[in-house]
Symmetry: C2
Subunit: 361 residues, 2 copies
Amino acid sequence: MKKPKPKLALKEKEGVSPPEIISASVVENIQQFRKVQPSAKELVEGILEGNITALSRAITLVESTNSEHLAKANEVINACLPFANKSVRIGITGVPGVGKSTFIEAFGKYLTGLGKKVAVLAVDPSSTISHGSILGDKTRMEELVKDENAYIRPSASGETLGGVARKTRETITLCEAAGFDTIIIETVGVGQSETAVHSMVDFFLLLKISGAGDELQGIKRGIMEMADAIVINKADGDNIKKAKLAKTEFNRALHLFPAKKSGWMPTVSTCSSYTKEGIDEVWKTISDYLELTQNNHYFAEKRSSQSQYWMLETINEQLKNNFFNHPEIQHLLEENKKAVQNNKVSPFAAASILLEKYFKG
Amino acid sequence: MKKPKPKLALKEKEGVSPPEIISASVVENIQQFRKVQPSAKELVEGILEGNITALSRAITLVESTNSEHLAKANEVINACLPFANKSVRIGITGVPGVGKSTFIEAFGKYLTGLGKKVAVLAVDPSSTISHGSILGDKTRMEELVKDENAYIRPSASGETLGGVARKTRETITLCEAAGFDTIIIETVGVGQSETAVHSMVDFFLLLKISGAGDELQGIKRGIMEMADAIVINKADGDNIKKAKLAKTEFNRALHLFPAKKSGWMPTVSTCSSYTKEGIDEVWKTISDYLELTQNNHYFAEKRSSQSQYWMLETINEQLKNNFFNHPEIQHLLEENKKAVQNNKVSPFAAASILLEKYFKG
């Protein structure tokens, strides 16, 4: 005898007519709405009105790999550009464990309390592997996520650093056009991501905690030199004394570096994301920086050179991609790499061989 | 009345027959020899025998912009490669005034005294403007220039840094094939030349002097982090005390940097090129470094990755040159730079327009 088929929950409505209350026209309306993608013009209008749904949809287009989406994204961005640029862009970095999320939560809440509109983005090319190590879990910023003057968007993923950087920078433009006047970009000390973030912000903040022993260990080469401010987090309870010691040590270290083009002398301060002590001082520091660099025109010059940088950087990256993905080059490259390795050919002669092939076929 | 034409020295031999002692056949022989360029094979043979004339001629080919010369140079280099690589390559940098020439003279003499064969090269892309600011005047190394175990070659000029770097690196190969076991490459703190030199040497030495006030001012960003040793020169007479103080300060600063991949902890020492005090210690330091990095295989790994670096770097540079020198791109680039500047188009959209033009015409 055949076993009776188990009744599946999904099949429960089989043979049941839809209740009269769901009219066919309503269903059609909803489906219609879902299918119709807003036009670029509609998105731009929505963004300029500060509509978060329009903003999020536009960012999704920016993050798409579909070329049609990309064309539409470019249209939206170019239309938003004249309304962007009126913000302060703050980069925040620090190794895992320094409390970036709690700091951004406390700092973001402080800023919205001042009447500011805060967008929090992330650059984390590793997020495909680590499944969103930063900002992936919005629950770590549970206060800020509920704040209607804050907008949190995790890192674009599945890409090279160049790709993530492009998407983040376009997202900045969209957020600014939507009226966000303070853009926070979080990154984590992996490879070149700090350099990328440094090249898209006005102010770069290194978050640290006081630890046992040498405070300066574990700082990646070059990060110290990039920082406009070092903030020692978790300066509360038993930690306060250690944090103050760390502050002295960092201050001494910073004085060893040559002066910055901005004319700004990097600062060191302590704060607690828990007691909120020192959070206001961070904003005070950034305000001082803005005043100095807007007066000496460094602010505008830096933004302008950052734009040029990203244009040229994108070109360079694409030229390399085209070369190294060329099928005939790939084989020849391996051959020449080996020959160089074994001192059969000089690096420059090998380069000539490859370039000849590429340009002359 | 016409004034009599003054008798010019150059015209003195007018009407004078050549003395009989210069036979026509000798003249012909000399002229013949001058005209005949040695073949690539002859140059290689000469170089491997340690013939300085052959070496100098080959370097001249490397420095030539003539494509025929370049092809011949490549032939010579590739033939020399299997005999190269058996040396220690030392980069020396320091701002003007620290006494690089006198240090290299004293250090070079010390090394030839140990039975070493020393080649001194320079990377100075500014030399076209400054008419050879370093090594241009060999008289500043008057002892070393007379030493038959030393070979001094000024920086290749009239070129971009990339060009000068390529020529210097090929010259290293030729010098090594000619039996030079210690290659010193001098550079001066202009722009990116330190980075280029750092990428072609085994050991990087920063030369300093003790000055009034803060010893660390005036060091370019990143140079401290590159240094395997800091040597404080001119530690003689009244300077000894100041030099010792400077040593302490540098030592403290170096400890602030993260550990090097080589496993080597950078050293600080003092020396006097005048009294020769401390010159032997510099060589001792380099010997210690060599022992460490040869044992932990970092030495070979670094050389290998340097070769790969120069191959890829040359390719990247040529790809960019080809793009930016493209006549249609040049005009479009200016247009797009302006559009980016005026927020009419995003840097990425501008890059797309340019790349489309380049690849699709």
